[in-house]
């Protein structure tokens, strides 16, 4: 059986996990292609107009799988960390997809609520429901979770290899930072500018309490709290147009960075983003930080 995995949202929230999981229980996982202008245009006429760009891309990926798979997998992710929640829209995602876009595709859903039940147990039950034997289900889940942990480990190691000073921190949701259409151009430009770029990682871990109940934002909050102006030259927040959660969180993050004396830039990406705008803003940001350092070193220059 061919299971379609749209390359969006949950694919990035649990990176590396799903392909291995479905393969190990004897199904064929079919991933949609990388995000691109074509995917956006596929979604534009049918996706809900007020969805955020990440949601529209998800819809586009879903459509691109039409006719290529026997069913699509769309989980309902309610919580990824104990006592934390996810974006409100995830609660309706499988039902909303079933309504219009995937009306003629069987949708396999799965409720992931790590406040109620650990991921491992949820996945084992799901594998059993899909027809895997007890032994096979358990093994499949073990290797799937190991694959995800390895993905996060690799990303963390890549960050550790960066120079210790003058780093730029790239903040955003896992599914914006990982997306080729949303974040790809930003990464390429910053790399071309020769800036050491650290991407926020979201490995599963226990979270210290904070005023924020959204787990990804709580992780970002703790990251910013431990941020040190000696090591970080600036923070770039990648946000997608009409993201409800970003709109309320960014104000607080800006305050945190100001208190720590670290420059903070918000890059808002929408479906129409021209590359020139992105490039100009990033160049200006990098330039102004460089000048700031030069004047600090030589105030009379």
């Amino acid at each position: 059986m061919k299971i379609g995995i749209p390359r969006g949202f949950y694919f990035y929230l649990y990176p590396g996990l799903w392909e291995v999981f479905f393969r190990e229980i004897g199904m064929q996982a079919v991933l949609s292609g990388s995000s691109s202008r074509e995917i956006v245009e596929l979604a534009a006429p049918v996706s809900e107009t007020e969805h955020c760009l990440a949601h529209k891309l998800f819809d586009g990926h879903l459509l691109s799988l039409r006719g290529k798979v026997d069913a699509v997998f769309i989980p309902r992710i309610l919580s990824m960390t104990k006592r934390h929640i996810c974006c409100a829209k995830f609660g309706a995602l499988p039902d909303a997809s079933r309504s219009i876009l995937a009306a003629r595709m069987p949708v396999i859903d799965l409720e992931i609520n790590e406040t109620k039940q650990p991921l491992r147990k949820t996945l084992i039950r799901f594998a059993r429901k899909l027809g895997a034997g007890r032994r096979r289900a358990s093994d499949a889940v073990s290797s799937a979770i190991a694959a995800m942990e390895k993905t996060w480990d690799d990303r963390r190691r890549a960050n550790e290899n960066l120079p210790p000073r003058e780093r730029f921190l790239l903040l955003g949701h896992p599914y914006t930072l990982g997306d080729a259409f949303i974040c790809g151009p930003i990464r390429r430009k910053l790399t071309a500018l020769g800036v050491p770029l650290e991407s926020m990682t979201f490995e599963p871990r226990r979270l210290a309490p904070s005023p924020i109940r959204w787990c990804t934002f709580n992780k970002m909050y703790h990251k910013l709290e431990s941020l040190d102006a000696d090591r970080y030259a600036g923070v770039i927040q990648v946000s997608t147009f009409n993201c409800g959660a970003d709109s309320v969180m960014i104000d607080g993050f800006r305050r945190m960075c100001r208190e720590r004396n670290i420059p903070y830039l918000v890059m808002m990406v929408d479906a129409h983003s021209g590359m020139a705008g992105i490039e100009t803003r990033l160049e200006a940001f990098a330039d102004s930080l460089r000048w700031k350092n030069e004047t600090a070193e030589n105030p009379h220059a």
């Binding site: 969805h51 409100a88 609660g91 219009i100 409800g244």
Partner: protein
């Protein structure tokens, strides 16, 4: 002089909250719909992509600060929607503006909210105040329902709205519970006295969506009255009395039809999760109205509202499957009153034509 406390905007229900606050010896400051000045202040001070109710709330509090209020109340929640963080954000913004007004959360913050601890009203007057407010809420529910019924049928245009205003004024002035109870009969009687045109058979339209835009006339550009004037009997699915049944199971208004458990069951074929806010309610009520033979639905939501926007595809599917037209209206600070009126007019025209075709 008693301390002044700004009351959040809950549409006509503000009157009930207002009298409760007055009954415990605090001077309330409120309005039943967001003023143009508050809207202007809120838009200027809020982050751009916040939703309209946030801007309305923020503006309301800035206006209250200008009016000399030391304290403000706001509704907060622990749900999945952005509302959880609104109080904190509003506090930060007010602090940046060097405003001294202090914002308190109302409800969902534990058994005894901090605001009650701060003002510490004596227990007996407090209980009396709550009972008075509940009584008033019940009466406002009755008023709203009567207005929906008479407005599309009235012989002289505008009579219902004028009557409604008069009744609300009387209600605001009456502050003894026994007298308030008596008002109920009187209001029912005066509404029964409105001359009606027996020939009209109004369209039936259900209003679902986000609470603030359902309740606040200036946020929804007066949708309820416009529809009434166009000859449609509306049913607005946010009645505070019914909502209290929904949240706390307090049987106010007598009907248990709104309990969360029932709504969850109704929505199940289309939605298996509460999502947040009133998203599930919107889905369940739309399904129910389709069942009950309503002519159409209007879904009101602030632009970018997380829970309500996420169920729009589901409402579209219900509209397709159950053959009930659903008009989507999104509100932000650029929404023009004329635009809303035109769209509602077009919508009711279509519904009338549909009805005629069915009769043939």
């Amino acid at each position: 002089m008693p301390e002044k406390l700004a009351i959040p905007n809950l549409g006509n229900y503000t009157i009930a909250l207002d009298s409760a606050v007055r009954a415990v010896g605090i001077e309330p400051w409120s309005s039943t719909s967001t003023s143009a000045e508050a809207m202007r202040l809120g838009i200027a001070a809020a982050p751009e992509s916040m939703c309209l109710p946030f801007k309305a709330h923020l503006g309301h509090f800035i206006e209250a600060d200008n009016a000399g209020c030391a304290h403000a109340l706001m509704v907060n929640s622990m749900g999945t929607c952005r509302l959880t963080y609104y109080r904190r954000l509003i506090e930060n913004i007010l602090k940046d503006m060097n405003r001294t007004i202090r914002v308190w959360g109302l409800g969902f913050d534990g058994l005894k909210p901090p605001v009650i601890r701060y003002f510490d009203p004596a227990p007996l007057p407090f209980i009396k105040a709550v009972l008075l407010a509940l009584e008033k809420i019940r009466i406002i529910d009755v008023l709203e329902i009567s207005a929906w019924k008479t407005r599309p049928r009235e012989s002289r245009r505008g009579e219902t709205s004028a009557l409604m205003r008069g009744c609300l004024e009387t209600l605001a002035k009456t502050n003894i519970r026994r007298d308030v109870k008596k008002l109920k009969q009187e209001f029912v009687r005066v509404f029964a006295g409105v001359p009606l045109d027996p020939k009209r058979i109004p369209l039936r339209i259900g209003l679902v969506g986000e609470v603030s835009v359902l309740r606040d006339k200036s946020l929804n550009q007066n949708t309820e009255e416009i529809l009434g004037g166009l000859g449609a009997e509306v049913r607005n699915f946010f009645l505070l009395g019914a909502e209290l049944v929904n949240i706390f199971g307090i049987p106010l208004g007598g009907s248990r039809a709104h309990t969360r458990k029932r709504l969850v069951k109704i929505a199940r074929p289309y939605l298996n999760n509460p999502v947040g806010g009133h998203a599930l309610d919107s889905v369940a009520h739309t399904l129910r109205c389709a069942e009950e033979g309503y002519d159409g639905m209007v879904h009101l939501c602030p632009a970018g509202c997380m829970p309500e926007v996420s169920i729009r595809p589901i409402l579209a599917a219900i509209s397709r499957d159950k053959d009930i037209p659903v008009l989507e209206l999104s509100f932000d600070e650029h929404t023009s009153p004329v635009g809303v009126a035109t769209r509602l007019e077009a919508f009711t025209d279509i519904l009338k034509e549909r009805r005629q075709k069915r009769m043939v």
